[in-house]
């Protein structure tokens, strides 16, 4: 079955489901899996909130409200607020995963991997391999990524290329509520450590999300738009932008495939290559910084494995090689815009 076919199957199944936000979809996935599996726990800073205070419990439910309501249902034993010590949080999640639990640990901002990167890349990621297959480390690290909220240089990074580089980790980047729910359920049930990256600017976006639990397998891209003139691969918050560009071009009779890999490790190479074989033209839209990025990764795969089909240079539309500026004016320029995507597409079509 081709990737296009796979993707379409799923899309049809969502017809006439209730509309939910990305935030609600993730919350629902967590709740459903916690009901189904008593070994699933949540831990992190403010995942409930209010511990040791005179006011309300569940005061935050996560600073973006994603875990709201889970502590009241499952108790502080399973929704664990922690001190501000990310190495201790992620390390505990990894050790708990080794010994019978399925922890979902939250890093409030993925930028905080700096203070716990060892636990992720040297510990959790490597146990299975370096212990000769003995270890299972079924844990999820949820974190928010991305610019667009003027959160400044230390709260606005993507950083997914850093974890996609690391063997032993799986990396998930849902671009919409439907995918977020299905991928979260797969992430929790996966026996390897999974990095689950939620883009801050997507929390309030909505789409149809079935009430019943469902999973979306890792390594299967979805086709958001279909067309054989050009292939646009876009990730996370860049997907809606790529879609918008594709819609605009469609009105001019230019047909673009818009591919959302949904998981970047594993990556659905097949879907990308299949499309490039048809179109011969590839634009990759990635909000991360450009060097050693996922955009570079995908370009390198295409030029290695679909070389003869290529009819034009491969274009990466990314952030510049700079930190994220605070100023909203500069930050808008920092993120790949619809204009820049469109321009890249047009250049390739003319090449």
């Amino acid at each position: 079955m081709t990737s296009k076919a796979k993707a379409s199957t799923e899309t049809t199944s969502t017809q006439s489901a209730p509309v939910k936000t990305y935030r609600e979809a993730i919350n629902e996935a967590l709740r459903q899996e916690m009901r189904a599996d008593p070994t699933v726990i949540i831990m992190g800073e403010e995942v409930s909130g209010g511990a040791g205070t005179p006011g309300q419990d569940d005061a935050y439910g996560g600073v973006f409200g994603v875990t709201k309501g889970l502590m009241p249902e499952f108790g502080r034993e399973r929704v664990i607020d922690t001190p501000i010590t990310e190495s201790a949080i992620i390390g505990a999640a990894a050790g708990a995963a080794n010994t019978g639990l399925r922890p979902v640990a939250e890093l409030m901002f993925f930028d905080f991997i700096g203070v716990c990167f060892d636990q992720i890349f040297n510990q959790a990621a490597k146990f299975r391999y370096m212990f000769g297959g003995k270890a299972r480390t079924p844990m999820v690290i949820r974190a928010t990524v991305g610019a667009g909220m003027s959160a400044g240089a230390q709260h606005s990074n993507m950083l997914h290329p850093v974890v996609a580089h690391i063997p032993g980790l799986k990396v998930v980047m849902p671009s919409n509520a439907y995918d977020a729910k299905g991928l979260m359920l797969s992430a929790i049930r996966d026996d390897d450590p999974v990095i689950f990256l939620e883009h801050k600017t997507l929390y309030d976006t909505k789409c149809e999300v079935p009430d019943e639990p469902y999973t979306i397998p890792f390594g299967e891209a979805s086709f958001n738009r279909e067309g054989s003139d050009i292939t646009i691969v876009a990730l996370s918050a860049m997907v809606p932008r790529a879609n918008a560009v594709a819609d605009k071009l469609a009105r001019e009779g230019i047909a673009a495939d818009v591919i959302d890999p949904r998981t970047i490790s594993p990556l659905d190479e097949e879907a990308i290559l299949e499309s490039v074989e048809m179109s011969g033209r590839l634009v990759i839209v990635d909000e991360a910084n450009p060097r050693c990025s996922l955009a570079a990764d995908i370009a390198s795969i295409a030029v290695e494995k679909a070389f003869s089909a290529l009819r034009a240079p491969i274009r990466k539309v990314t952030a510049p090689h700079t930190p994220v500026p605070f100023s909203p004016v500069l930050e808008q320029l920092y993120m790949p815009s619809e204009e820049r995507i469109e321009q890249a597409v047009r250049e390739l079509l003319e090449a």
Binding site: E46, G52, A88, P290
Partner: protein
Amino acid sequence: MQYEKDFLVQAYRTMKTIRLFEERSIVEFERGNIPGFVHVSDGQEAVAVGMCMHLTDSDVIGSTHRGHGHSIAKGCDVIGMMKEIMGRATGLCRGKGGSMHIADFHKGMLGANAIVGGAPPLCNGAALSAKTLGKKDIAVSFTGDGGSSQGTVLEALNLAVVLKLPHIFMFENNQYGEGTGVSYALGAKDIASRAGAFGMPAEKVDGTDFFAVYETVAGAVKRARDGGGPTSIEADTVRFNGHFIGDPQLYRAKDEVKKLRKERDCLTKFRERVTGEGWLKTSELKTIDQEVADLIDRAVEEALAAPQPDPSELTTDVYVSY
């Protein structure tokens, strides 16, 4: 202790400047004039000012996400700060930093830091510079109660002792890390005793009493300048607002803040003390209040009129590869 009038005026003016800067930040944020995440520090003025009144421009401080007060206390230009938190081209950091990254190296302000526990390791370095270069300068890091458990902070405490660095660790215990109480997040009896167990003198002080802070800090500053190494201080203080502007503060008790404002307002305490002792007159304080209010008005006015950064700024101040 005996205080000069100028000193008291400066202390009051600085605390008042912080108070009004923060209160106005809330207003301007709500008006949509300040983007991003903003953490105000009103209630904690006496810690910042009681500490920084001991420092010169060549001493350095490292701050937190809640850094406006520290910056003002260390002498940063208030108008430049207001421009910065509004993201303007003429802001202290050209609009690239924002509220969580205000810095002014000329004033020895090494930066607010959006990573909890960010300042202590860096301030060890500043202290090391002073020591290595044979200067008498000292470094002061600010850390919250929540941040006090972060590994970077704990490592820094040890290194400061090992290298005998002129570094004062100021822990501002405002009872909360976001919406989590210190009684939950801190396993230790208190921050000071834990810091002390790393091998340095550690003290506790009422952080809402400017005079107590100033006097407690004095010994630590002297020790640091004289080569006696680091000190930790835990200041018991209060956060008058939410964790960030817009925080509904569900975790607080009803009337908690009202009570704190009544009983533990460092500005009220200061005013009572200085007028009670006859050191300053109420009218003098009122004049300062007015001057500060004017300054803040002007800061907002100028900031709102200041230009946005030029698009070319996106790729300056960093080596850009492609």
